[in-house]
């Protein structure tokens, strides 16, 4: 056994470097002689661009170049791809929203790039940008995802009728309709999934270098996948293929947003190649608000059908999902997960989703922590609470009657997913106990004695993690004294390096101190994508396959060295041993003799995993002000197995805090006339802070995952799935008791809660 095997708490190896400010983020790369870029952006949400006069800007001090959409067109740049095909229910393909890296004749959201100024200093570039004269002709704009789909709404794309870019049905409408026709009771809800801004601590950044000798460009950029960016920028937009290398150093948070190519990345490489010079760009916080792809943005109408015994029959929904002004890379796929998650942890006969994806004059929307799964679970878990109240069945009891049972695995859900494992009833029972559910009435009475209102809310959740092509891979190289691990994924702050070393240490029986991890270089690392809570499951499994291949490859050399038949040699604790003897050779000796051993072409698609759990929240509301305090917060999760309990808790806490942000605070609000973002800075966009968050009581109820050898389930997004329904269920517990109110939309701000109680 090595010292820090899988399952142990190992402190993050990343921290000494990062906490001392010795990390290297994209903006830390500031070589002498690099030029600085500033992007001039549309101040309007929807305009025709009649002309751009850059004469004065070109002559401004320090200016090297001013580039516009016309230059990009002349250089034959491709448009930004959306890689998800969608077939509408009438058989036609989804609409197209071709997006040039710089706007050509039309800008479609505030912040849309209009011109790029490259200068000797950032301030010179920014000063010059003010000299660019753009002849804008304003057009009517639309921001509301539902309003955009109504007749007569301003059109974001004249080619896209009623702004509906895709219109599809998921699951069987007939089966759902039949179940609803038989129902003894139907519960309904109309709700909003508030639009969110990812707001990682480190803003987006791009820095391109050019090597005239090889005609190659290197793009340094904060990302979740250097391989995807290399392909999309190199092959699709700039059409330079392998003449592009993409690298990511430390990444200060991403949350899905940095998986997407944004226009500045190809733009900066393009400028650098034109100028044959290094060019750097770092977005500021305002640009982040106006241009980073955002999350959620749904308007939902949903229904739950139950029989006379409170058995769930079917769930169905019509979801209007906002795509923003252009379809981002994965955008049309994200809300499809609403359907796959709608059955949650329950036995349903049918689940049907009518998904209407609309374009609006807003920043594109794409994956944000959870990416469609929080949206789906929220619909069903809110409906269940409403049904429980209408049928006068306790919410835990109604759930208990409908859980998928352990004996039913593998279980194919009404949405067609195959759950492999779980113990939902046992997990809920544990959560009720941990939360002291039974003691709630006494705590409620105590709150009331202090003039406060107390509510309790429960949710179950499950999510689909891992899987999904393209596969993540890992390359492994062993030389005479060290192991080098090259994952395809990019750490964004999760602690990948620590866990990867733990895993490889166990796989090979080699001390962690002898293992190096190197990430984020499209020339060196194999394919991978950080996202969808895939790292532990997909990369972890790939590392296991790679380790086995390394050991197998060394076997012949070991046999030679030990003068034994390969069949008589076994591997363990870092040694090749001749069975039944004390003769052995270390992995490093064998690798040294073999001139190094490598496993380079490991592919692991990774089967799906289904982490699940229960969040129970108690809120205390001040009826005079509407202030909602999270007083008690209990989480029980099933992640199959903990690789590193401390890092796992970090993921749970972080995800839950983001869920709290969505439930109570965060909202990207657009003015519906002008489509201007009204919450464009931290003065107006409320992020959750330490004093908004309670101390979490977290435990586990693991059932090993059967679809991967590690037995683990994804954990990175779990908290963001569980928190919103649990919190809103708790607040509605109060609002219903006092005012008969059925639902309150997120974010449940203090003013909204106060109005609900005093309306």
């Amino acid at each position: 056994m090595t010292k820090f095997a899988i399952g142990q708490t190992v402190h993050r190896l990343e921290d000494p470097t990062l906490l001392q400010g010795k990390g290297c983020y994209t903006d830390d790369l500031r070589p002498q002689g690099a030029a600085h870029a500033f992007v001039l952006r549309s101040p309007h949400a929807h305009v025709l661009i009649r002309g751009i006069d850059t004469t004065a800007a070109r002559k401004a001090p320090g200016v090297i170049a001013v580039l516009t959409g016309a230059d990009a067109k002349a250089d034959d740049l491709g448009t930004m791809p959306c890689i998800v095909p969608v077939k509408n229910h009438d058989g036609t393909p989804r609409g197209e929203t071709p997006r040039p890296v710089l706007a050509l004749d039309r800008a479609r959201h505030v912040g849309d790039p209009v011109a790029l100024v490259v200068a000797e200093t950032y301030h010179a570039a920014r000063d010059a940008a003010e000299l660019i004269e753009v002849d804008y002709e304003p057009l009517p704009a639309v921001a509301d995802v539902y309003g955009a789909a109504q007749p007569g709404a301003p059109l974001v794309w004249p080619e896209i009728k009623q702004n509906i870019v895709a219109d599809l049905h998921l699951g069987s409408k007939e089966a759902a309709d039949a179940a609803f026709a038989r129902a003894a009771h139907i519960s309904k809800i109309e709700l909003v999934q508030n639009r969110l801004v990812a707001n990682p601590m480190e803003p987006r950044a791009a820095f391109a270098e050019y090597d005239p000798e090889t005609d190659r460009s290197t793009l340094h950029t904060s990302s979740q996948s250097v391989a995807l960016l290399r392909a999309h920028i190199g092959d699709i937009v700039l059409k330079i293929g392998d003449k592009l290398r993409v690298r990511s150093g430390n990444v200060g948070g991403a949350f899905g947003m940095k998986a997407m190519m944004h226009p500045e990345q190809p733009m900066i490489v393009w400028a650098s190649r034109r100028l044959k010079r290094a060019v750097r760009w770092t977005g500021d916080r305002s640009e982040g608000f106006l241009t980073d792809v955002q999350g959620r943005d749904h308007k939902v109408f949903a229904e739950l059908a139950l029989d006379k015994d409170g058995k769930f029959l079917a769930v169905r929904a019509t979801v209007y999902a906002g795509m923003g002004a252009y379809l981002s890379q994965f955008a049309p796929m994200i809300p499809q997960s609403v359907h796959s998650m709608m059955p949650s942890v329950y036995a349903f006969e049918a689940a049907h989703l009518h998904l209407i994806e609309t374009v609006t004059n807003t920043v594109p929307v794409d994956a944000y922590r959870g990416a469609g799964r929080p949206e789906g679970i929220y619909v069903t878990e809110r409906l269940i609470d409403i049904a429980a109240r209408e049928l006068k069945i306790a919410p835990d009891e109604l759930r208990r009657r409908n859980f998928i049972k352990p004996s039913q695995f593998p279980y194919t859900t009404a949405a067609g997913l195959v759950y492999d494992s779980g113990d939902f009833e046992g997990l809920q029972a544990k959560a009720l106990k941990e939360a002291d559910w039974a003691g709630f009435p006494a705590r409620k009475a105590a709150s009331e004695a202090r003039g406060k209102l107390r509510g309790i809310g429960l949710t179950m959740y499950v999510e689909r993690c891992g899987g999904a092509a393209p596969p993540d891979s890992v390359a492994l190289k062993v030389n005479k004294d060290r192991v080098l691990v090259l994952p395809g994924t990019v750490d964004n702050g999760q602690g990948h390096m620590t866990v990867l070393k733990q895993m490889v240490s166990e796989y090979l029986g080699v001390d962690m101190e002898k293992i190096d991890v190197s990430q984020g270089d499209s020339d060196a690392n194999p394919f991978g994508l950080t996202g969808g809570s895939r790292f532990a499951v997909v990369t972890g499994t790939a590392a296991g396959i790679a380790a086995k291949e390394v050991v197998d490859k060394g076997m012949e050399q070991a046999a030679k060295m030990l003068e034994a038949a390969a069949a008589d040699i076994e591997y363990g604790d870092g040694d090749y041993k001749v069975k039944g003897t004390d003769r052995k050779a270390t992995l490093f000796d064998v690798a040294s003799a073999a001139g190094g051993i490598e496993a380079l072409h490991i592919k692991n698609t990774g089967a799906l995993t289904f982490p699940n759990g229960c969040h129970i929240v108690e809120v205390e509301i001040d009826p005079q002000t509407g202030v909602t305090r999270l007083d008690r917060y209990t989480i029980v999760d099933d992640f199959g197995r903990a690789l590193n309990p401390m890092l796992l808790l970090g993921q749970v806490h972080g995800g839950t805090v983001q869920g709290i942000g969505q439930a109570l605070l965060e909202h990207a609000v657009y003015d519906n006339e002008s489509a201007q973002l009204l919450t464009g800075s931290f003065m107006d966009y409320a992020m959750p802070r330490a004093d908004d968050v309670p101390s979490f009581h977290t435990t586990f109820h693991h059932t090993p995952c059967t679809t991967n050898p590690l037995g683990v389930k994804g954990a990175g997004e779990a908290g963001s799935v569980g928190a919103p329904p649990a919190i809103i269920n708790a607040i509605v517990d109060v609002l219903h008791a006092k005012k008969g109110i059925k639902h309150i939309d997120m974010p449940a701000t203090r003013e909204k809660v106060w109005r609900a109680l005093n309306g």
Binding site: T625, L665, V669, T679, F682, M683, D684, A686, E751
Partner: protein, 265 residues
């Protein structure tokens, strides 16, 4: 940021001379409002005259009946000052409620009241504690100083040197923070001077204001029930993303009661 010149003043007189020479020059205190505006290119001073080296602007003096704070005293210094905590705890507590640690370590009382942000805290202290604002030219009563949103009685070239607060029998400040910015959505300061009382409200309107009806009721009896039924009209109050006017109006009454309770503790 646009290009600007930078000058460190050794004395108030030197700063005054600097302002006289250049009409587009601006004083720099903690920079927490000014530098942010410059970075967003909303403010374009030709010269910044830094008051940071003028020691006389950093003094705290407690005398009979008054606490005087030098214009360049930071919020953190006021919050931590043993003398202020003893003589006028409500003021220390108010300073400690401003922004975050970084802002409190940089931001100053002079900068705050010269800026007169409608959601700032110090204006409520000035008005509620009957402060006198001393400048290089004159003394101005708080009642005459604040002129509505970002407007003050300061004339061109006028430099705040200190602020003197009257010490009441008791006082308290209750702040309902904007969850995003942590500025005041509504902040209410109540002070009991025995024969008079003051109730000053920040955040709720275009500028800080007093509520005469509550003051009268509190002189009669300094107790929460005295203000509990005094409703503040919503007309003229701010309505924005964070709070509609009627919610702000309601909060004023709630916070006034809570401030009275806190003052009585």
């Amino acid at each position: 940021m646009y290009q600007f010149k930078f000058q460190k003043a050794k004395s108030v007189a030197e700063a005054f001379a600097g302002l006289g020479k250049d009409g587009d020059a601006k004083l720099l205190a903690g920079g927490q409002s000014l530098i942010a505006a410059m970075k967003l290119r909303l403010s374009q001073p030709s010269t910044l005259i830094d008051l940071g080296d003028i020691a006389e602007l950093r003094q705290i003096k407690v005398e009979t009946g008054t606490v005087t704070i030098g214009a360049m005293t930071t919020h953190a210094t006021v919050a931590a000052s043993a003398e202020v905590n003893k003589a006028l705890p409500a003021l220390a507590m108010l300073a400690g409620s401003i922004g975050d640690r970084q802002v409190r370590n940089q931001g100053t009382i002079g900068g705050s009241i010269a800026n007169n942000d409608p959601a700032a805290d110090y204006p409520a202290a000035c008005l509620g504690l009957g402060a006198t604002i001393a400048t290089n030219k004159r003394k101005i009563s708080a009642d005459a100083f604040f002129k509505g949103m970002y407007e003050t009685a300061l004339e061109a070239g006028e430099i705040i040197t200190s602020v003197s607060f009257a010490i009441p029998k008791r006082a308290a400040y209750v702040k309902f923070k904007n969850p995003a910015s942590r500025f005041a959505i509504v902040g209410v300061l109540v002070a009991d001077f025995g024969s008079s009382a003051r109730v000053a409200v920040t955040g709720a309107g275009p500028g800080v204001f007093r509520i005469a009806e509550m003051e009268k009721a509190l002189v009669a009896k300094f107790a929460p029930e005295s203000v509990a039924n005094i409703k503040v009209p919503a007309e003229g109050l701010n309505s924005d993303l964070h709070a509609q006017a009627d919610y702000r109006a309601h909060l004023i009454t709630v916070l006034a009661q809570r401030a009275v309770i806190a003052a009585l503790k």
